[in-house]
């Protein structure tokens, strides 16, 4: 039966994780994601899982390394400064090919910054973050409903590809409350075989979960295995959403909570007859580069809006490969782009001359 409740983004991610069969969660308190850790403390242990408040984010990420190595569905959550501390463990999880779900409810940085929302961890989330050549799948919800739906999807993708999946939320999405609808009878995603898990070598050869390879060719081999996996993920798991893009002459590109604000602007300008659309990447890695490249053959102008000083805009520029003009508007450090600021930028971009093509 479908059920609709009023929930915050943080609680929605917690509920989705438990309903996706989460077995082990470890986390360390940090604002603005505290409701999620508290939700896990209250709910997970009552519903068949294990909750640990760890002594640090370092410990939390390594606890989920261990629990995932044992074959369990695992999750940790934090906000920007804590996610920085987790980077070592994330790199090891990538190297050892462990499935894991990591939630980042982004806040303003650098340093301790503050608890206000931001999108300034885009580079860290999508380009690796820790050491070595690796990627996470990065999912960017734009509502409480999507915080729920994408968290569930994160567990499916993690198991499907033996990969760590990050749900990249922010202080706005985590704290705000909206209606959340889900099917109470929906079963967790089907369990997948984990023939590599550490369950005791009874009647079989030992399993080893590691990211160390003593012989140089073996490290390269592991890297090539990872790269093959990333190519497979990139070809299958790209997700995005489009609003008014069918006949748009200009696209606003934004993700997460900024996409919500931008959508209001786009709708208002449409009502005034402006041919503006919204392109919203849902997977930040893999980035919907091919779709943007296709669009750039028809859409003449792009405006990227972020709660950062220009991070995703680099991927948009790479995607359109200089074919069309890409302008940028961003605020960060707690500043949230307002509707009127975005509208001003759209109008500015609409009235600017077209990029001249060199022949």
């Amino acid at each position: 039966m479908k059920k609709t409740i009023l929930y915050s983004g943080n609680e929605a991610m917690g509920e989705a994780a438990i309903r996706a069969g989460l077995k082990f969660y470890a986390g360390y308190p940090i604002t603005p994601q505290n409701e999620l850790t508290a939700y896990m403390a209250d709910q997970l242990s009552q519903r068949g899982g294990i909750f640990i408040q760890s002594e640090s984010e370092l410990a939390a990420i390594n606890m989920i390394f261990g629990a995932s190595a044992a074959g369990a569905r695992v999750m940790t959550s934090s906000s920007s400064p804590g996610i920085s501390l987790k980077q070592e463990g994330i790199s090891y999880i990538a190297g050892a090919q462990l499935p894991a779900v990591i939630i980042n409810v982004m806040r303003a940085g650098p340093g301790l910054g503050n608890i206000w929302p931001a999108q300034s961890d885009y580079f860290q989330a999508t380009k690796g973050g820790g050491h070595g050549d690796y990627h996470l799948i990065v999912l960017a919800p734009a509502s409480v409903q999507e915080s729920f739906d994408l968290t569930r999807l994160a567990f499916e993708l993690a198991d499907r590809h033996r990969i760590a999946v990050m749900v990249l939320s922010d202080g706005l999405l985590g704290q705000m409350m909206e209606g959340l609808t889900f099917d109470e009878e929906l079963a967790p995603p089907a369990a997948v075989e984990k023939p590599w898990a550490l369950t005791g070598a009874s009647g079989r050869k030992p399993h080893v979960v590691c990211s160390l390879f003593m012989k140089r060719p073996d490290v390269e081999k592991n890297n090539l295995i990872l790269q093959k996996k990333y190519r497979r993920v990139a070809s299958r798991e790209v997700r995005y959403a489009e609003t008014f893009m069918d006949d748009a002459a200009m696209a606003v590109v934004a993700y997460g909570s900024v996409a919500r604000i931008a959508e209001a602007v786009v709708r208002r300008l449409r009502a005034k007859g402006k041919k503006v659309g919204l392109f919203r990447p849902v997977t930040l890695w893999p980035f919907p580069a091919k779709r943007l490249a296709d669009l750039s053959r028809r859409v003449k102008k792009f405006l990227v809006v972020e709660m950062s000083y220009g991070q995703m805009v680099e991927d948009v520029r790479l995607s359109v490969e200089g074919r069309e003009a890409v302008s940028f508007y961003g605020r960060s450090g707690g500043g949230v782009p307002t509707e009127s600021q975005i509208e001003r930028e759209v109008l500015k971009s609409l009235s600017a001359p077209l990029k001249r093509r060199r022949r």
Binding site: E55, L58, F65, G66, G71, L198, M214
Partner: protein, 242 residues
């Protein structure tokens, strides 16, 4: 006459990479013998450290996770909590357990995680070339204390076992050595006790083993063993701490 000394089943049939006279080789064998004796080869899961014993998983014929430097007890916590019936142990050097991993060590102990810890105190960082460890003795020369460790600048050798014994979550703390046949046998007994504590669900047990690193002590294997029984034990006395 029957064969009364053979390779334990839980020890793989390969040549280890350890230096001659190194304590790690002795300890690996002891752990394998105990796994055989307790019949837990099919349920034991090791967590290897970052240190000279990083590839312990090549030497034990059991499931094994390799943890990041210092994080073995966090990894072990995850492994054990989701599989409480498995026998999970960590094997860690002094740098791993008592420097970079101090927080993980203290908090796993304080939570009373039902784990067994084998703590190999060789008073140096073996793997990275013999630098100072938290357990390096005063005046001991290492790559990063070229004129000997000084209390005024480097502090005193860390007695982490004594610190852990203060915690309510810890059921057993013992310090042994592998510097003589008698001490080796006692170490074997202590490690077996620590495994049995876990099997009886008693909680967190740690055995600190004073172990030779002839290479970075710049001593012959015989002199290295003698240095443990004559020098190290003065600061790190052997025996049951808790």
């Amino acid at each position: 006459m029957g064969k009364n000394y053979s390779r334990p089943q839980a020890l793989t049939d390969v040549v280890t990479h350890y230096c001659p006279g190194c304590g790690h080789g002795i300890l690996h064998r002891l752990v394998a013998e105990i796994i055989d004796e307790l019949g837990i080869r099919g349920s034991a899961i090791a967590v290897a450290p970052v240190g000279c014993a990083v590839v312990a998983y090549d030497y034990w014929d059991i499931d094994c996770a390799e943890a990041a430097h210092g994080r073995a007890l966090a990894v072990a916590t995850g492994l054990k909590r989701v599989q409480p019936d498995k026998i999970v142990f960590t094997y860690q050097g002094d740098g791993d357990l008592a420097a970079i991993g101090t927080a993980e060590t203290i908090h796993a102990a304080n939570r009373g995680e039902n784990l067994t810890v084998i703590f190999v105190n060789n008073a140096v960082y073996g793997m990275t070339g013999g630098q100072m460890a938290p357990t390096t003795l005063l005046s001991q020369k290492t790559a990063t204390t070229p004129r000997g460790r000084q209390a005024a600048t480097e502090g005193y050798p860390l007695k982490i076992s004594e610190m852990l014994a203060l915690l309510n979550g810890v059921v057993s703390v013992e310090r042994t050595a592998v510097s003589s046949p008698k001490e080796v046998l006692n170490t074997r007994r202590a490690i077996k006790d620590a495994f049995m504590n876990q099997m009886e669900r008693k909680g967190f047990s740690i055995v600190e083993v004073l172990s030779m690193c002839p290479t970075y002590w710049d001593k012959s294997p015989v002199d290295a063993a003698r240095w443990i029984s004559e020098e190290m034990v003065k600061y790190f006395p052997l025996g049951k701490i808790k």
